[in-house]
Amino acid sequence: MAISLNVNGETHEVDVDPATPLLYVLRNDLELNGAKFGCGLGQCGSCTVVVDGAAVLSCVTPVSLMEGREITTVEGLGTIEEPGPLQTAFIEMQAAQCGYCIPGMMMSAHALLTRNQQPSDREIRDALMTNLCRCGTHMRIMAAIRRAGELMQQAAAPSERRAG
């Protein structure tokens, strides 16, 4: 079945079984590496992407329901040449060991920071409740999210002045 998907601002036509979870379509049909297969059960958060501003577990998300919705993956946050604030912050804080869980963490953080660029420690932990990290990079991940919030605020500040 042909399904039209809006991913990272681009529209893609894919021809897939409509019962396919979104994760497989992102990885195999659109060849996006960011979202990872971790459990397929919605328990670990490796597959987290953002749909209409909210963090969603793509391994249990029916692709057929995604028509007309805005999907963002870690690829949509910036590029290796021009990383976005979250990516810059994760690089700056060296917030990865094996890195496998990190794109999922970043997408949960993206949903949080879009709402609130100065999240409390508690809010960060809560936002990451469904994201598992096995290397024990927790402290750096939390630090990187706080840092990304700062970067976003700094980026927003001058434009506000201009607007003012």
Partner: protein, 467 residues
């Protein structure tokens, strides 16, 4: 119609207020005492109190998740407004440190605090009144040996006239049947022990019996099903909607472990109950199960036959595999039933048609009380808000689908499941119910699966409502 009902209620209330004021008036204060020395209580008495507190599930209401135990402050949504639980640690100023045992006994029996103020029946003294003096003594010993915590709970948020405590005197006159538990001599000792625990401290009926418009349990519909914190507390009498009828063994196993292979895991407020019962000896668990099973009674032939069939199917192995594209997606476009099947195939089948047993595998929905219940609220709650992981404890985990599924999607999915896994008639007004649950208009409290987890506060309804 609605107006006249409200008018009638108001008139009755005024009457109650009047009666309350003039007939019952104020209760006396019991003098404050110096905080009891924790070492003055025997270890045995404290241990016994701990077990009783577990039966009473005190910690669940008197603790804000993430905050010190028993320090109160938890918001309890009721149809009359929001009540905040009190601090029952032995802190003399903000807790019950200066309560004498006498004051504690009176609170349990009559619902009056040390200063003589009437307590709201969110504190289920209509059940606790059945508790023996001896058990209250043990509970008192247990609470007085907790860590004192200085913490004042927020004010209650109740509109007039519910904010007037004296009207509670009238409520008690009408609905409080004071006095200790009366054993039924025709029944076994075990049954009576179970009844004492279930009707008294266990206060099962506080959730499992429907309440009238004054918030009092309808005693003529004992265990007929009620609700708590946004969850359906299923009927646990002859009307139990469980596809496989409960018996003493399965109930005892469920209460002991928080799950049963034919029924799935406890969740919502019941998860706190089963989580707490861990301290109770097997004999008490079996006693409660014996009593509740007797209230449920023997299932009729048809139910029994259906149960046999379901058990045989389950024994064959996990759910029949729905090869996902078996649904004819091309032809069925726009047909809600098929949309539901599609959603099921990608979002649900991975766990619920897998081979993992209870309690961590997804339950076969043909065994699910939620899918077979008259009211779909619980399965709506679980689909929207999931079963959050219990940090560091093995627990059934299910992702929340609120951010994936629209109200219509959830309705389609549930319609499909009802059709596929239950003989009961289709649910009505699903979209509306999902919308009200999602928006928070209908408040649901979500806690991790083992209940007593001090997890983050924002999982569940409030989070969903902000989105």
């Amino acid at each position: 119609m609605r107006f006249t009902r409200i008018l009638a209620a108001v008139l009755i209330l005024i009457l109650i207020v009047a009666v309350g004021f003039f007939a019952l008036a104020w209760r006396s204060e019991i003098k404050p005492v110096a905080a009891a020395d924790p070492s003055s209580f025997s270890e045995d008495l404290v241990q016994q109190g701990a077990r009783l507190a577990a039966v009473g599930n005190c910690i669940a209401c008197h603790t804000v998740p993430g905050q010190p135990a028993f320090a109160g402050g938890l918001a309890l949504p009721t149809p009359f407004g929001t009540i905040h639980s009190t601090n029952i640690t032995p802190d003399p100023e903000t807790g019950i440190g200066n309560w004498s045992e006498e004051a504690f006994q009176r609170a349990m029996r009559e619902g009056v605090d040390r200063e003589g103020r009437h307590l709201y029946p969110a504190f289920p003294y209509d059940h606790y009144t059945r508790v023996t003096d001896e058990d209250n003594r043990a509970l008192y010993a247990f609470l007085m040996t907790r860590e004192p915590v200085r913490s004042t709970p927020p004010e209650n948020d109740l509109p007039f006239p519910y904010n007037l405590r004296p009207i509670l005197a009238g409520w008690k006159l009408l609905f409080l049947d004071k006095g200790p538990f009366q054993p039924d001599t025709a029944q076994s000792e075990e049954w009576n022990r179970g009844a004492y625990l279930a009707e008294g401290l266990g206060h099962c009926g506080a959730c499992h019996t429907p309440r009238n418009r004054f918030g009092a349990v309808e005693s003529d519909r004992h265990f007929g099903g009620g609700e708590a914190e946004g969850w359906q507390a299923y009927a646990i009498n002859a009307n139990s909607p469980a596809p496989i009828p409960w018996d003493t063994d399965s109930l005892a196993f469920y209460l002991r472990n928080g799950w049963h292979q034919w029924h799935g895991v406890s969740r919502g407020p019941m998860a706190e109950v089963t989580g707490n019962l861990g301290l109770l000896p097997d004999s008490d668990i079996v006693a409660i199960a014996t009593y509740v099973a007797s209230v449920m009674g023997e299932p009729d032939e048809a139910r029994r036959a259906r149960a046999e069939e379901l058990m045989a199917q389950a024994a064959e192995g996990p759910g029949e595999v729905q090869a996902a594209p078996a649904v004819d997606t091309q032809a069925g476009a726009g047909n809600p039933q098929d949309r539901g099947a599609l959603i099921y195939a990608s979002a649900c089948a991975g766990c619920h048609n897998g081979s993992k047993p209870q309690p961590f595998g997804g339950l076969r929905f043909s065994l699910s009380t939620a899918v077979n219940a008259p009211n779909p609220q619980n399965i709506v709650n679980v689909v929207l808000f999931g079963l959050p992981p219990s940090d560091g404890q093995a627990s059934a985990v299910m992702p929340a689908f609120a951010n994936v599924l629209s109200d219509q999607d959830v309705a389609d999915l549930l319609a499909h499941m009802r059709e596929q896994y239950s003989d009961a008639p289709a649910w009505e007004n699903l979209v509306d119910l999902v919308a009200r649950t999602r928006s928070g208009e209908y408040k649901v409290v979500i806690l991790p699966a083992d209940g007593i987890e001090r997890g983050p506060e924002n999982v569940g309804a409030s989070d969903g409502a902000e989105e």
